[in-house]
Structure formats: structure tokens, C-alpha cells
């Protein structure tokens, strides 16, 4: 079983289907792995062994009875703690929701349960998904499996680390400005931000409603495709969910053919600010694709320069509003001040005690940006930039099939390195943010080892509703690179032991 957990989710699913292992054994092996390494990594905020094993045994008996099961049935999964799960704690990495047990499931969780995926537990994250390092979690940072003194990216560092450390073969992440893709890049794993509306947002604790999107966190492109197919689809509980039929992502991932595919290199996202070795791995990846028959084209997206600025007005504006409900009145933390505990004072005390610094910073930013007299200058201007970014994508996709850039400017930095420098922290998402502003899909997969022998990622972006293209190019590049590496990049990660980090 210790060997089995290193396989891809697709391979684990095949083993279950072939009767080589039971879901109970597989789930148990992952739970053992969590016990062995998570004290050190802190990828999980909550582990639900009993429920996971119950689901696993149920799948096993249904399989034994000859029932037709979902291809991923019995393969365990970890879920980012921003996704509400009935009966399991959901904190969004905040003290504000400590102890809260949601009375309902997110739509994507319902889909996981229906398909019979045992949920191992809930993964760590930056508080309310605000951060690029998982250091703003109220429950301590998650550590990078490649180097436990480094950050695993954020906000979904827990999901990426769990998958990278073989604690789970699959995980769910959410991506508002790069929270799936950037952790994927710095942990040597795969992450996909689907087209906005592809996966229901019902049951995702909202940070920025117009930007948030849930997606798969896995070790292989094919695994992401399978998981994406499972969680996608129209949901009548989410007005912004697409009504399109779900694409044939898995088929696209398995095609491994890029002949004639036009890949656009975004000029604005490969030069200044990107580490030399990160850029080198990116260029080598493009060379691999070119050799395999793809056409590499340089394209310009001039307004991407303003994307980060626009994002840091739109995201906090929406977040300031979405987080208003955390007031101690109906759920979660309630702090009652001794002196004059009116509703207003309870709200103040609760929000003062329950939110961390980064959350407060963004609430302040957003509240200011939406204020009368400032709205047009800030929120209004940012929306105009957003339109310009969308136009850049439209123009670019008239010339190419997919766009490419390094996922993040650097490899994983050290814990604490950027904590006191919010703007430096925000720069981590410079390449990932434009996709969220435009609602287009993006994938990050490993491009190789860069500075300090740590993984770097390459990102592909496709037009809205053309997520298949990501799986097509991602699956092909992954195969080419793994050939050159002689196996998955993660195989080069140092062996984790239960020992303490330095």
C-alpha cells in the first residue's frame, strides 16, 4: 500500500477496479500517511478518518455487488477548508469559523459524495483564501514537502502539499487570483482553474464572487481532467454557473498530441521579475512543445501590466462585502464585550478578534474602494481595466489556441520571508491573476527544477469554455517532460520522514 499511494489517482482507480486493492485499504494507507507526515506539514486542518473509511467500505461493498461505479469511486480526496461540508468542520483557515459545522454540502461536495470519493479531511489555507503562502492561516502555516522551511504557495497550500506529499491523490482547491495554480507550481503538482462558471460556487465560502472558481489539485494532468469532469456542470443554486455540457477533459488529457497547436507566449509575463531558472524551465518546455509539432508565437497583452492593480481593487471590494456576514450573530465565533454588549459592539469585538491582519487589510482596502466619492476612481476604473484585460485575451486568442507563461515568478520562498511585505507577496500572483479577471481557464504543471533545486511551474491559458485545450497541451507537455526526467518530477522530491524540520 505504501507504493500504491504514490500512483496517480487514475492508476489507483484502475487498481481498485481490477481488485488489486480495496478502497478501505487505499483510504487507510492515505490516512496512515497523514498520521506519519502531517504533524510536520500541517496540510490538514481536520482529518475525518471514520467517515472516509465508512465511505470506502461502502464503495467496496457496492463494487463487490457489481454496481456500476464512477471511475474515481473509492479514490480518496482532500478538500480545501473553504468548501462547506455537512457534518465536517469548515473554517476557511479563520478563527472566525472555529468549531462551525455547516448544515449543508457545497454542490461539488455532493458530487464527490455521490461518486463515492472518501473525503479524508479539510486542507489548510490562507485565512479566507487571502494569501500566497498559507502563512495567514489562523492554524499555522503549511510547509512545502520539498523543503519544510519553505512555503507551499497559497492560498491553497494545504491541498497542494497534501497531494505533493502523497497524503491524498486528489484535492479540491479554489482559485481567485492563482490559489490553485501558484501552489501547484511551487510544490511540483498540477492544478487547474476552470472557466469561471464551470464548477458551481454554491458552498464555496466566497472571497471575491466574480473571480472565485473551484478546481482540481492533483499530481497528473489526467487526474485533474477526471476530477474536473466530476465536479463540473450546471447548478441551479449558482446563477453564474454555465449551462454548457461538461467537456471531454480526460480524453483531451490522454490525446498527447499538439501537432499544429498554436501556443502564444505572453510577452508581458516572462521578463522582468521572473527568476532566471524559472524562465529557463519555461523556455525549455516551449522547445519541447515546438519539437512535438506545436507552433510557438509571441503575443502581447499590454493591459496585463495593470491587471494586478485592478485585481487588488476588485478582489478586496467584493471580499469586504462577502465577509460582512461574519459578525457573530448567526454562526461561528461570537465575542461579547463585558462593557455594553450591544449588537453593534458584539459585531465589532467579534470581527476584531476573529479576523487576522491580512483579512482586515483587504476589508479596509475594499471598504475604501467602494466608498462614495472613491467608487468611480477605484472600483470603476478597475472594472474598466478588467474589460481591457478581457479584450487582450480576445485579441490574443484570435492568433493562438492557448497562451503560456511561467505560473509564478519564483520558486517557493522561505516561510516568513514576505510576511511583512504585502506588495511583494501580491507579486506572486502576477501571472495568474489575468485569467481570473477574464474568467478564462488556466492550468499549472511542473516545468522542472529551478533555483535551489525546487520545482517551477508552467501555466497555459485557454479561451473561456475551451478547458479541453488545457488538458490537451498539459497532457502532452507532461509526457514529454517526464520522458526527459525519467519519471514524474515529484519522484525527485526528498523523502519525507516523520522527523522535525530544521
Amino acid at each position: 500500500m505504501t507504493e500504491m499511494i504514490r500512483r496517480s489517482a487514475a492508476a489507483q482507480a484502475a487498481a481498485l477496479a481490477a481488485g488489486e486493492a480495496s478502497s478501505e485499504e487505499l483510504t487507510g494507507a492515505h490516512l496512515d500517511r497523514i498520521t506519519a507526515v502531517d504533524g510536520d506539514l500541517n496540510a490538514f486542518l481536520h482529518v475525518n478518518s471514520d467517515e472516509a473509511l465508512t465511505v470506502a467500505r461502502d464503495v467496496d461493498s457496492r463494487r463487490a455487488a457489481g454496481e456500476k461505479l464512477h471511475p474515481l469511486a473509492g479514490v480518496p480526496i482532500a478538500v480545501k477548508d473553504i468548501v462547506v461540508t455537512e457534518g465536517q468542520p469548515t473554517t476557511a483557515g479563520s478563527k472566525m469559523l472555529e468549531g462551525w459545522i455547516p448544515p449543508y454540502d457545497a454542490t461539488l461536495v455532493t458530487k464527490l459524495r455521490t461518486a463515492g470519493l472518501p473525503m479524508l479531511g479539510k486542507t489548510n489555507m490562507d485565512e479566507f483564501a487571502m494569501g500566497s503562502s498559507t502563512e495567514s492561516s489562523a492554524y499555522g502555516p503549511t510547509r512545502n514537502p520539498w523543503d519544510r522551511d519553505r512555503i507551499p504557495g497559497g492560498s491553497g497550500g494545504g491541498s497542494a502539499a497534501a497531494v505533493g506529499a502523497y497524503e491524498a491523490p486528489l484535492a479540491i482547491g479554489t482559485d481567485t487570483g492563482g490559489s490553485i495554480r501558484q501552489p501547484g507550481a511551487v510544490t511540483g503538482t498540477v492544478g487547474v482553474k476552470p472557466t469561471y462558471g464551470s464548477v458551481s460556487r454554491y458552498g464555496l465560502i466566497a472571497m471575491a464572487s466574480s473571480l472565485d472558481q473551484a478546481g482540481p489539485v492533483t499530481r497528473t494532468v489526467e487526474d485533474s481532467a477526471m476530477l474536473h469532469e466530476l465536479i463540473a456542470g450546471h447548478d441551479r443554486h449558482d446563477s453564474t454557473s454555465l449551462t454548457d455540457p461538461v467537456g471531454a477533459f480526460t480524453q483531451a488529457a490522454r490525446a498527447k498530441d499538439v501537432t499544429g497547436l498554436r501556443v502564444g507566449v505572453i510577452e508581458e509575463l516572462e521578463g522582468e521579475g521572473f527568476a532566471p531558472e524559472v524562465r529557463a524551465r519555461f523556455t525549455e518546455s516551449l522547445t519541447q512543445l515546438e519539437r512535438a509539432g506545436a507552433e510557438i508565437v509571441r503575443v502581447s497583452c499590454p493591459n496585463f501590466t495593470y491587471a494586478l492593480g485592478a485585481y487588488y481593487l476588485i478582489m478586496p471590494s467584493e471580499a469586504s462585502s462577502n465577509l460582512a456576514k461574519f459578525d457573530g450573530m448567526r454562526f461561528g465565533l461570537r465575542v461579547v464585550p463585558e462593557d455594553h454588549p450591544t449588537a453593534e459592539n458584539v459585531m465589532k469585538a467579534t470581527r476584531g478578534a476573529g479576523f487576522g491582519d491580512e483579512v482586515k487589510r483587504r476589508i479596509l482596502l475594499g471598504t475604501y474602494a467602494l466608498s462614495a466619492g472613491y467608487y468611480d476612481a477605484y472600483y470603476g476604473s478597475a472594472q474598466k481595466v478588467r474589460t481591457l484585460v478581457q479584450r487582450d485575451f480576445t485579441t490574443a486568442f484570435e492568433q493562438v489556441d492557448v497562451l503560456a507563461s511561467p505560473t509564478a515568478p519564483t520558486v517557493a520562498f522561505r516561510l516568513g520571508e514576505q510576511v511583512d511585505d504585502p506588495t511583494a507577496m501580491y507579486m506572486n500572483d502576477i501571472a495568474t491573476i489575468p485569467a481570473n479577471l477574464a474568467g478564462v481557464p488556466g492550468i499549472s504543471l511542473p516545468s522542472g527544477l529551478a533555483e535551489d533545486g525546487l520545482p517551477a511551474g508552467i501555466q497555459f491559458l485557454a479561451p473561456a469554455r475551451a478547458d479541453e485545450r488545457l488538458y490537451q497541451v498539459g497532457g502532452a507537455l507532461e509526457a514529454l517532460l517526464e520522458d526527459s526526467w525519467g519519471g514524474p518530477l515529484l519522484a525527485q522530491a526528498p523523502e519525507l520522514t516523520g522527523g522535525a524540520h530544521s
Binding site: 469548515t90 465560502i205 471575491a208 466574480s210 446563477s239 460582512a324 456576514k325 449588537a343 467602494l370 462614495a372
Partner: protein, 503 residues
């Protein structure tokens, strides 16, 4: 000097020297099956916190979805108020912190209302028609309901704690905002009440709401300002919130005109603020200051896609609109032959539907009016209930009138039967039958009674035979008494005249 101890100016004097301008915001709760943005039932008076979903409670992760029926109702209202219907419009978040507001923002419409630029004609007591310009009608959600426990009379002041019922949270509302209503002069109070009544009647006709004022289905915020004359710029306004009866609306406007005139006379500025009306004193008191620049940090609701009603759909809704109250009144006036005054009384008594149904059940229009506006209105008043709440149906009233028309009973007996119907004894014909109340026109019975009366009253008989035919009435009285009022008075008269040989 505070606002509360200002000298009120006599109303007529205030009107003589100032020109009042009104502005009215009416909220109507829509009677859709479910709430504005989620599938929770839209019901009144269920157990607290039972008509809820994660979305009505604003739980983390929950999302709104627009209720299509509510949009249709809003369009109906917009069309009935002669508004343009937006080709596309968005919801916006109106942000403020309050415990009854689950998300600490209200999902409403801000700069893109579903309906805008309309008008409605309002008919006053004397038949004068005032056209009120409508600025907009927009969709939004209601908040929950706070109950303050432990203080005096349910107020928050002095309460030990408060309870919140979120059953009402998310109930669909349409808010209708007028443009400033000028030139009402001394009739401002009447115009304000008549406008809200007009809307109330339209909501009922459109079947978009039960529109019960006493339940808060319809709530009015009344803005009043004064200016020197009709050419001057608008004065500073006050907004008296949630005035919930027609009478209170009139009193609010009247009081504010007197109060503001007093302020202005004393050289004080009117403070732009919300105010509260007090039923007991008939006055208003200061609420919170309100400026036009109050910062709700509105921004477009990112969880909802724009609402874009197709032109075909709007036209379909327009084609399906029922006859509106004003047109219906005009039509019925012609059909029934009522005087203008009779018609206004009927409308003001909320008896139009009842009379129409009674006529539809076979009664003559004037007979139906007499029952509902006479005996039944009196009984309703005695019992302090709405006329429509009386335990009698229009069909029963028509049946009763049919008995009178067919000379089965007379008017006096009819009133007795009416009381018995109200007491739940059954339908009129059955009551007349079972209690033997039908008019007695059987000669064998009547002749005996006539003979007895003639024998008992020789002096009256002498008068009649002496040519004073009108003295017959003195014989009929005892006969009616003997037959418990059921004798056919006409036939009795004939028999007497036959017996006494007069004609």
C-alpha cells in the same frame, strides 16, 4: 429648542403660507410561493426560523438565485404604473450592518431598476384626479424581524436581549418611488393616502400581493417638504418611515406640515432625517439623520447575472394584465348606474369586489349596494371587522335579495334572515324554509286574521268606511303582529278592502 417642543402651526395657516411637496416610497411584499433569492417558502406567521435555507440565513458559501416569478410580478407592477421596463438591469448590494440583515448587505437594485419613468392617476374624494409621476420600481429582499425582550413595549431601549426571526429575510419586495408630488396644497394628506390606496388596489388586482396594510404587506415611507411657494426650489424633506394605514398617512402629512411650518417660522432649518409616526399622539418623532450622500457602498451584485426580460415576455405580461381598478370603476359606474358619490363610498368601504360578486350572483346592482353599504356595513362596524371578513358570501346576499324580489319574504324578515346567515345557520332560502319565515299569502290564514282585526277595531273600520282609506294601516299593524310579520301586506290590504266594501 429641540424639534419636539416646536410650536405647531395651525394646518390651514401653514397651507396658506407654505407649499407642501410630497414624495412617497411604497414597499410591497410579493406573494410569490418562494423567496426572492432562494427556495424557502414565502409564508406569513410560521414558527420563527423555520422558513429558511442556507441562503435566507446568509450562511457562508450560500448563493442567491433570482426568483423568476418575482421578476414577473415586478414587471406587472411596472406596466400597471405605466413604466418603461428595462431591457437589462442588475441587482446591487446595499451595505450596512444590522442583525436582521443576514449578509449585512441587502440585495436590491440601485442605478438599474427593472421599471422606471411611469405615472398613476389617483382619484380623490370629490372625484378630482391627480397624476402622480413614478420615478422607478425596483426589486429587493426584505430583512428579518427583530423582537426586543425585557424592555418596555418591545423597544430596544432597556431590552435585555433581542431575538431575530429570519422567516421574513429574503421575502421579495418591490419598492415604488414617486417623483416629487407638487401642487397638492391643502389636499396633500388626502393625496398621500389616496396614492397609497391606489397602489394597494392595483397590487390586489394584479394578484401580486395580498396587500394587507395591517400585516405590513404594504409599507409607506412619507417624504414631506415645504417651500415658500410653488415656484421656489424644493425645501429640505423629512422621511417618516413605515406608516401603515391610510389614516396614519394622512395624519403624518398633516403633522409634518404643521411641524415644519413651525420650524420655519421659528427661523430653524429642517433637518433631513427619518422620522417615526406615533399612533397614540398622531405626531412624528426624530429618527436618524439621513443625507443623500449616506454611504451604502452600493456595487453590482457579483453573485447574480443581469436580469434581461425579453421584449416578447414583457408584451406577453402586458397583454395578460387584468383590468386595473380605475378602468374597472369607470366601467362598473356605467353598468350599475350608481352616482359618483355612491361609487366612491363603495370603493372607500372596500365593497367593490363584494358588490360585483353579488351582482354576478344575480342581484340587482342597487340592491347589492344597499345590502353591503347598509345593513352589512353597519354590522361590520359594530363588530369591528372588515366588511369582507363577515361570515356571508356575495352569493348568499344575492340569494337573500332573490327571496325579497320574489316576494317570499319582506325587507324586515330579510334582515332577520341575514343575521341568521351571519350566525352560521345556513343559506337564506334554507333558513326561511326551516324556520317558516316565508310571507303568508294564504287567504284562509289571512282572512281569519283580518276578521279578528275588524272585530277588534270598530272605530277604525268606521273611519275607513267613512272614506279615510289610509286608516287601513291601523288594521294592518295588528294583523302583521298576529302573523309574526310574515303576512303579505299587499294581500291583507286587498282582503280588508274587499270585506269592508271600499275601493
Amino acid at each position: 429648542m429641540t424639534a419636539t417642543d416646536i410650536d405647531l402651526v395651525d394646518y390651514d395657516e401653514a397651507i396658506a403660507r407654505f407649499d407642501p411637496v410630497l414624495g412617497i416610497e411604497v414597499h410591497v411584499e410579493l406573494g410569490t410561493a418562494t423567496k426572492m433569492f432562494d427556495g424557502a417558502p414565502n409564508i406569513f406567521a410560521a414558527e420563527p426560523n423555520t422558513a429558511i435555507t442556507p441562503t435566507s440565513l446568509g450562511l457562508p458559501g450560500s448563493l442567491p438565485v433570482v426568483n423568476g416569478a418575482a421578476v414577473e410580478y415586478a414587471i406587472r407592477i411596472g406596466l400597471a404604473l405605466n413604466c418603461s421596463i428595462a431591457e437589462t438591469c442588475r441587482f446591487a448590494r446595499k451595505q450596512y450592518f444590522y442583525p436582521d440583515l443576514t449578509k449585512n448587505f441587502q440585495t436590491s437594485q440601485y442605478d438599474e431598476p427593472i421599471a422606471y419613468e411611469g405615472w398613476v392617476d389617483v382619484e380623490l374624494e370629490d372625484g378630482e384626479i391627480i397624476r402622480v409621476e413614478i420615478e422607478r420600481a425596483h426589486m429587493e429582499e426584505d430583512a428579518g424581524k427583530n423582537t426586543h425582550v425585557g424592555g418596555a413595549t418591545g423597544r430596544i431601549h432597556g431590552a435585555t436581549h433581542s431575538q431575530v426571526d429570519y422567516n421574513r429575510a429574503g421575502v421579495p419586495l418591490v419598492e415604488i418611488v414617486t417623483k416629487p408630488i407638487p401642487n397638492t396644497k391643502g389636499r396633500a394628506p388626502e393625496v398621500a393616502a389616496a396614492y397609497v390606496r391606489t397602489l394597494r388596489d392595483i397590487f390586489r388586482t394584479l394578484e401580486v400581493s395580498e396587500a394587507k396594510m395591517e400585516r405590513g404587506n404594504v409599507r409607506a415611507d412619507i417624504n414631506v417638504s415645504l417651500r415658500e411657494n410653488a415656484q421656489a426650489e424644493l425645501g429640505t424633506r423629512t422621511e417618516t418611515k413605515n406608516v401603515n394605514s391610510f389614516r396614519s398617512i394622512e395624519r403624518t402629512v398633516r403633522f409634518e406640515i404643521s411641524r415644519q411650518a413651525g420650524m420655519l417660522d421659528a427661523g430653524q432649518k429642517i433637518i433631513q432625517e427619518t422620522r417615526h409616526f406615533h399612533e397614540d399622539t398622531g405626531g412624528t418623532s426624530s429618527g436618524r439623520p439621513k443625507s443623500d450622500a449616506e454611504d451604502y457602498r452600493y456595487f453590482p451584485e457579483p453573485d447574480l447575472v443581469p436580469v434581461a426580460p425579453s421584449r416578447e415576455w414583457v408584451e406577453e405580461i402586458r397583454a395578460g394584465l387584468p383590468e386595473l381598478p380605475a378602468a374597472r370603476r369607470r366601467r362598473l359606474l356605467g353598468e350599475w348606474g350608481f352616482s359618483d358619490l355612491e361609487m366612491r363610498d363603495v370603493v372607500n368601504a372596500d365593497a367593490l369586489d363584494l358588490i360585483e360578486a353579488t351582482v354576478a350572483a344575480g342581484a340587482g346592482a342597487q340592491s347589492a349596494r344597499k345590502w353591503w353599504m347598509g345593513e352589512l356595513a353597519r354590522i361590520a362596524k359594530d363588530r369591528e371587522v372588515d366588511i369582507a371578513a363577515l361570515a356571508i358570501t356575495p352569493a348568499q346576499v344575492a340569494e337573500l335579495q332573490g327571496l325579497v324580489d320574489g316576494s317570499k319574504i319582506n325587507d324586515k324578515i330579510a334582515k332577520q334572515v341575514l343575521t341568521k346567515v351571519l350566525d352560521g345557520k345556513g343559506d337564506p332560502a334554507a333558513i326561511v324554509e326551516s324556520e317558516g319565515l316565508a310571507v303568508v299569502s294564504d287567504d284562509s290564514v289571512l282572512t281569519g286574521a283580518v276578521d279578528q282585526a275588524i272585530a277588534d277595531n270598530p272605530d277604525v273600520v268606521a273611519k275607513i268606511q267613512g272614506g279615510k282609506v289610509q286608516a287601513i294601516g291601523a288594521l294592518i299593524g295588528p294583523i302583521m303582529k298576529a302573523t309574526r310579520g310574515q303576512a303579505d301586506a299587499g294581500r291583507v290590504r286587498e282582503i280588508i278592502m274587499e270585506k269592508l266594501g271600499v275601493s
